[in-house]
Structures are given as C-alpha cells and as structure tokens.
C-alpha cells in the first residue's frame, strides 16, 4: 500500500517563481508593490497544491478478466466507483489534519477503529483495505481446491474441504445486511475459521489474519446476479476464489502464528 505525496504546481517551471522573487527585489526600489508584481507575473491564479495520501491499487488482473463470472461492468463500478470513492473520501478526510499520517493502510484501519468507537475515517480506510484484499482474493481461472499445507490445515480444522465450503456458503447466505465473509487464521486459537462481519468490519480488528474474503454488499453482485445471492456465492467458490493467494497469505501468516506448536493443555 503506497504512501505518496505529490505537489502539483500548475506552473511547471519553478524558475518562474524564483525570477519573480528576484525581480521583486529590484522593483521594490521602484516602489511597485510586491504583490502586484507577483500577480502580473503569475497571472490571476493562486498556486494550488494537491496532496494525495494513498493511491488506488488496481486489481491484479484486467477488469474483464473475471468474465463471465464477474462482469467488466461490475468491476468498473465496484473498483472504479465504490473502491475509488472510499479512497478519495479517505484522502479528503486526511487532508484536514496530520494526526493520522504515516500509517500503512492496515495500521490505519486498526487506529481509526479506536477499539469500537470509530473515527469518521474508519469506514473509508477499512473499506479501502477490504476491497484491496478482495480483489487479490480472486483470480481468473480460480476455484477448485487448495493444495499442500493449506488443504491440510483446512481438513484439520473443518474435517474436509467440502465441509469448509458448506460453512463458508452458509455464512455468506445467512449474513443479514451488508458485510463480508472471511476465511481467517485465528491467532490465539491457532486454527482456521469462517467468520462473517458487518459493513466495514474485518478480522484485522481483533488481530486475526484473513486468508480469503467475499464481498456480500449488494453492489458486489447486483448488476450480475440481481437478488440471487446463492448463485454469486457458488460462482465465487467454484470459479473465482484464488487459492494461490490464500496459500501465499497462509505461508506469510505462519511467520506470526506457530501452527506447528503442539497444543499442550495447561495444567
């Protein structure tokens, strides 16, 4: 997640400014007011500085790469309007003060959540993070099953991959209102679980490690599937979910959670 600051000066040659300043020193003696001289030199416009705090990340595939399961129109709207809207909203809020500067997006989400009493920036920051995570949780030619360690962990924690799939789908369909469904690695319990959250909430907030997510806000599927949530969830599980990304995330998670540690009961 980049943090970039760029000052866009509408007058590209900054040498103009320097020259103006120099000129003014000369002209002071001729008693032409500095301000007037500046205005004559730079025109009637004030110099505007535009700062961008966070950049919008593109999904790791073309917008039509997920057809026919998720249409280009949906990607254009979902990424181009909703996700971008959250990001631009966040940048606008951050322009007001520098209290929240210098965080990565993940840190910003946790900080603005403020342990349950969220700041106004929380909704935007959390949704930006959630959508970045969501795009990366999908790929063209996705679906099927994971392999190697992730499959083993799923079979250990859910009994079988089919059982996990059923649980995930059930969570998605029983979610009331807008929200997300996650496959998450619980840090303390050291196991994988399916979790559903409302609105912008994510498992980051209780320090767990998300592995896969599914957006169940209506805007994620309405253009393609209208009210048929079941179809959307099936298509996601069978054709879109990126187990490659899940395995990467699982591998990274194991630097933080020691899954090989034997569960010795405490006396």
């Amino acid at each position: 997640m980049g943090w970039s600051a760029s000052c866009i000066n509408p007058f590209p040659a900054s040498s103009h400014l320097l020259v103006a300043i120099n000129m003014s020193k000369h002209l002071k003696s001729s008693q032409i007011p500095l301000r007037k001289q500046k205005r004559a030199w730079l025109g009637n416009e004030k110099a505007r500085c535009v700062l961008a705090y966070y950049g919008l990340q593109k999904p790791p595939y073309e917008l039509d790469a997920l057809e026919p399961y998720m249409s280009r129109k949906t990607l254009e709207m979902h990424w181009g309007k909703h996700h971008r809207g959250y990001l631009e909203g966040l940048n606008k809020q951050l322009a007001k003060s520098d209290v929240l500067y210098g965080y990565t997006m993940e840190e910003l989400v946790k900080v603005t959540y403020n342990s349950g009493n969220p700041f106004p920036e929380f909704n935007n920051a959390a949704q930006v993070w959630n959508h970045d995570f969501f795009w990366e949780s999908m790929q063209p030619g996705g679906g099927n099953e994971p392999i190697l360690g992730l499959l083993q962990q799923i079979e250990m924690d859910f009994g079988s991959f089919t059982n996990f799939k059923e649980k995930f789908i059930e969570a998605a369909l029983s979610l009331l209102g807008s929200g997300w469904v996650w496959l998450v690695l619980k840090r303390n319990e050291k196991r994988l679980e399916v979790v559903k959250t409302s609105n912008a909430i994510s498992p980051l907030l209780w320090d767990d490690i998300p592995i896969i997510s599914l957006d169940m806000w209506e805007h994620a599927y309405y253009l393609d599937y209208k009210n048929e949530k079941g179809k959307y969830v099936d298509v996601f599980m069978n054709h879109l979910v990126s187990w490659n990304m899940a395995m990467l995330r699982m591998a990274r998670a194991q630097s933080f959670v020691n899954l090989a540690e034997p569960k010795i009961p405490v006396a």
Binding site: L176, G177, S178, A200, E218, Y222, L223, K226, N227
Partner: protein, 251 residues
C-alpha cells in the same frame, strides 16, 4: 382496467372491479380457511398462527418511472419483499414450535431472524404506500396539518428534504431513513435505522415516510450515486398517505 372479475365463493358471489382487490380478497379467504382448518384439526395451538403474504402494489411496476424504474420495482416487490415474508413466516413457525416446547435458547436465537425478516416486511409494506405515480398525486407537497407541522419543525419542505437526503446518504451499509412522528411528544422526527430495523425500534415513533437506502432499492438505475436516487424519489412521494397517518396520530 381489464373488466370486472367475478368471484364465486361458498357463501356469496362478489364482483370486483379491480384485479388487485380480487386478488387480495382471494388471498385473505385462503389464509382464513387455513386458520379454520388448523384450529379444527389438531388444536395445536391456542390461537392459529397468523402468517403473512405479499401485499399487492396499488400501482403498476412501471408507474413510478422515471424516478424508479419498473425493473427495480418488480425485483424489489416480487423477490426481495417476498423473501422477507417467506423467511418471516418460517421464523414465526419455528418460534411457535420452540415456545410451545419451552426451548428458551432457540426462542432467543430466532430473534435476529424475526427482527430482520419481520422488519423487512413491515418496512416494505409502508414503503409501497409511501410511493404513488405522479398522476395519482405522487410528489404533490403536503397540505393541511402535516404541511404546517413540517414548516414549524424544519422551516420548510425543502429543508426537510435536504436533511432527510443528507441522513439517507450518510447511512453506512444498508438501512432506511424515516420521517416519523413521536406518539408522545407529537413531534416530527427524522431517524435512520440499520438493516431492516423498523422505526419502532428507535422509540414510540410512527413512520410517515420511509426511504429504502439498501442498494437493491436503487442500484440497477442509479448505480452508486445514492444522492441522485434520494433527490428523485421525492417526485413520487405519496404525501397523502403521510398526511393521513399524521392526522390520525395528531388529530
């Protein structure tokens, strides 16, 4: 519209001039019959379980164009509202069964399904009455006591609309924005509720007007631009209904 419809029942022959009335009457007859049978057969409960069915819209699906498209109205009514009703009936049956058994944990667990689906039914039933085609008075500003109350409470109708639109646009996720009247204080209030929570959950309030800001209510037409939907829905707002309800609460 399509001529008279004649219904012949056990007791009498009744003529309906509107298809909607005949449909609704038949449906009421059907549920009443079920109730009688239920009571007669097994005395399974002290009172029969009242189930719910989809109320008809008092106008065609396309009658609210261009403010709300016919496609949205049809999906909203036939799919979304119907699903809430189906799931509400299911939850009520499960509730009745678990209450009869004294199964407290199940009773408590069903509450969220009842609030969500029952709320969805209650809210949408009000919503259909809140809207009217332009040629039937949709969009006509309120007169009488409600108009006066709006001017007193908010300054002007425009101010009320602006405030409701701002609150509606600010709802995060899914929910509703309401113009309600406080039964005790007899004051007009603007409130928002999350998901399908009905207005009664916010106090002793009676809904006069509600605007559905779930994405399914506007997405196909307005995409992500919820403010445009909020601006346009006032063109088909049924102030007559709101005035009736207000005059009943504040005579």
């Amino acid at each position: 519209h399509k001529g008279n419809i004649i219904c012949i029942t056990e007791k009498s022959t009744v003529t309906f001039t509107r298809k909607e009335d005949s449909k609704m009457a038949l449906r009421t007859l059907a549920t009443r019959k079920k109730l009688k049978e239920g009571l007669g057969l097994g005395f399974q409960s002290i009172r029969g379980l009242q189930t719910f069915s989809l109320p008809d819209l008092p106008y065609d699906y396309g009658a609210l164009e261009p403010a709300i498209s016919g496609e949205i109205m049809q999906l909203h009514h036939q799919k979304h509202h119907q699903t809430y009703i189906t799931n509400y009936n299911k939850a009520l049956e499960q509730l009745e069964a678990s209450m009869a058994k004294g199964d407290a944990p199940t009773v408590v667990k069903l509450q969220s399904a009842i609030t969500f689906n029952g709320g969805g039914h209650v809210n949408h039933s009000v919503f259909w009455k809140n809207l009217a085609p332009v040629r039937e008075g949709g969009g006509e500003p309120p007169k009488g006591s409600l108009g006066f109350a709006i001017d007193t409470n908010f300054g002007s109708l425009e101010a009320l609309i602006q405030k409701m639109n701002a609150e509606g646009a600010a709802v995060q996720g899914s929910g509703w924005v309401w113009l309600g009247v406080d039964k005790e204080l007899k004051k007009l209030v603007i409130e928002t509720t999350a998901n399908q929570d009905p207005l009664v959950t916010k106090g002793s309030l009676v809904p006069l007007l509600g605007i559905d800001v779930w994405e399914h209510a506007y997405y196909l037409q307005y995409k992500n631009v919820r403010p445009d939907y909020l601006k346009n829905i006032w063109k088909v707002m049924n102030w007559k209904y709101a005035s009736e309800v207000y005059e009943k609460e504040c005579p």
